[in-house]
Symmetry: C2
């Protein structure tokens, strides 16, 4: 089975909205063996929409459409669907009940534009929306499947998981594509590719495998794809390749699939019964934010101090004023003193710190914009490492928080 | 002039990479009056790529392609471009010099796969890459323009701004589309749409105008689009509509265009000569992170305390233990005591605080997951407001930090 994903909305053709829906739907369909080979984005333009529907349905078994079901005047997907299937609108009692329930829970009155969302094209199967007011539509035409979903991500994902994926799985038995992603950090894409070498050698003796490098500012992900008759066969191939990749790049691989680095170190801290506190200067709270994104982080995260001013470094963390005067606030010595200071003050097992020059201004020749010191302290050792993360302020903060979490991970594992 | 944007890469058809390039290119082209009416994403599949190139060039004046110029084996865009234009590869001396310069600055040796990136299709105009190794390609065929750019966002944006946009502006004189976006927060899309009413009434007496609602968890943006013969004429229409919208929804509009809420309040704090400190529980550092995303925030941001444990609320902020025992850590009283505590401890003009239940677990009937108290304290008043931001942990943190910044903005303006 092949699929096309079509996103509709003028806003998607400008910068205003970044489209994460297509990527999500693509992964969901791949996971059940449906190959997405085209994603298309078009505006709120009726002839263009009809033409795109026509082409997509002629070339693919599955067409998933998102966007343009909202309550405001610029949403025309519903009219286009009616025209394409030669039908008209009818009120769906379940959808209306859902809308009434949502407005009652918000203690708000229903407006006419809200009530209109209960209208669906006659002849479709409505897809109920657990997270919003607009229902989706499902059409079957012979062996072809056509789904229309809202553009709001959490509404769309709910409908994919509760309806579209189960329905398509019934229709697509016996063909399996499986993926596995290994997440690395601290190594450049070209260096990693050089280490791993040619895919032919990596896949020696096995067929229907591929490897993709997915670089981002926080690290390179390695995605292995295997095709096989059964899920078990595909998984076995993935296991073999994962083992080979780990033998080549073990140190840099911190997680698998969707695992974030903060989840990995969070689990390690819980397993070891350790608690942590952090003192941040240049990362400005992002390190604490990353750590506390994990549910249950209150078990190991005691406190974070964002000591932006010199005064706060001195009075909150006990960094000696003379140390700042002698070495500067951005220095190995101050990073170490911050990590030690927050650990002892918060009475935690580990202290982690950052101090650097986020820019875009404020650098010198000796201490350029992008310079970052990350400090680590536990009962046995206090140390700091130097990094250079460039002149883009936001990317500097993101790479700095990632490197601090990675330093923590490697200290917990006692690897360099 | 109309345009199609084509992104190439198997990784884009899965969830692994969210494509922000298309949105960026769309906005850039719109800003010079080139209308993007289609965005297409396809995999590393040669016949599909050639077919898509063919269709795109037959239907549009401008085709922009991104992706597949990287150093690893899974990048095939370059071969497809050669085949499409019936040409072969030739080494570009400027591109090779650029690659050597980059590797020298990183003190790294050039590998053969890096050197291959200096090969470009014979007959194209190379587009130099200021931020990476792979050059882009520019083809002109009659009145049609065809650009091939890398998929790495900051490399691609550099080439759009230095080459593609200036080149297309020479070719597209006299037609102007202008946009203006007003950013709101704290009001639901349907309520905002109800207040604003029908576009016909809003645009009364003016032509070639449109209004789009762009909702996100942090607020709804209103994008006005005007078409006119000159930029001045278009701007005049935008001014008129902006004034009307401000009369309708002034309180909720915090910024224009790309302005983030933290930049708006940062400017207000600088103008008023005020300094701020924050004490966060459930937002876990995200509020400090938002504030410190603004360059120059050290002028007004003194420190942030992420007081996750009760001990840290008591010892860092001086919240009375009895207050926590009586009302719980998530309460109006504790939010107020945190804001007051951090303000007096850091000796700043303003203190801001958050305490809530981020979930997904830990709620009770009386204090459900999603409950958030935001505290504010200055020399004249100390207060706290209650919010309910739902059960998704990350969205809760994001909406909480946004609401805290908005509360700060309204207190600085002395509006409710």
């Amino acid at each position: 089975m092949t699929a096309e994903i079509i996103s509709i909305g003028d806003e998607l053709l400008l910068r205003q909205v970044i489209n994460s829906n297509q990527a999500y739907i693509g992964e969901q369909l791949h996971s059940i063996g449906v190959t997405v080979d085209t994603m298309t984005t078009i505006g709120d333009d009726l002839p263009k929409i009809l033409n795109t529907f026509e082409q997509a349905l002629s070339m693919h078994d599955v067409v998933i459409i998102t966007g343009g079901l909202g309550p405001t005047h610029d949403d025309i997907t519903r009219s286009a669907v009616c025209e394409f299937f030669g039908t008209d609108l009818v009120e769906d009692p379940d959808a209306l009940a859902n809308i009434k329930r949502i407005f009652a829970s918000r203690r708000m009155d229903i407006l006419e534009i809200n009530r209109q969302q209960a209208l669906i094209p006659r002849g479709c199967t409505p897809i109920q929306n657990a997270h919003g007011t607009a229902p989706g539509y499902w059409f079957e035409r012979g062996e072809k499947y056509f789904a229309v979903l809202p553009g709001v991500p959490y509404e769309m994902t709910g409908m994919m998981e509760s309806f579209v994926i189960p329905r398509l799985m019934q229709e697509n038995q016996g063909k399996v594509i499986a993926h596995r992603t290994l997440r690395t950090t601290g190594i450049a894409e070209s260096l990693l590719a050089h280490r791993i070498g040619s895919p032919d050698q990596l896949f020696e003796g096995l067929s229907d495998l591929s490897l993709a490098y997915l670089p981002s500012p926080l690290g390179v992900r390695l995605r292995i794809t295997a095709r096989a008759a059964t899920r078990g066969d595909a998984d076995e191939k993935l296991n073999t390749i994962e083992q080979k990749l780990r033998a080549i790049a073990e140190k840099y691989i911190y997680g698998v699939g969707d695992e974030e680095l903060e989840q990995v170190v969070g689990t390690m801290l819980v397993d070891r019964g350790l608690r942590i506190s952090v003192a941040e200067s240049c990362t400005g709270g992002l390190l604490a934010d990353r750590i506390t994104n994990t549910s249950g982080s209150s078990r190991y995260f005691e406190r974070g101090l964002v000591t932006y001013s010199n005064e706060s470094k001195i009075y909150e963390l006990g960094v000696p004023q003379s140390l700042i005067a002698q070495h500067g606030a951005v220095s190995r010595e101050v990073a170490e003193a911050m990590a030690f200071g927050v650990r002892t003050k918060a009475n935690t097992d580990i202290g982690l710190s950052t101090t650097g020059i986020a820019g875009p201004t404020g650098g010198t020749t000796e201490k350029p914009v992008g310079l970052l010191w990350i400090g680590y302290s536990d009962a046995e050792e206090t140390l700091a490492l130097r990094f250079d993360f460039g002149t883009d302020r936001r990317r500097f903060k993101e790479r700095g928080a990632q490197a601090a979490l990675e330093l923590l991970r490697r200290r917990l594992l006692k690897i360099a």
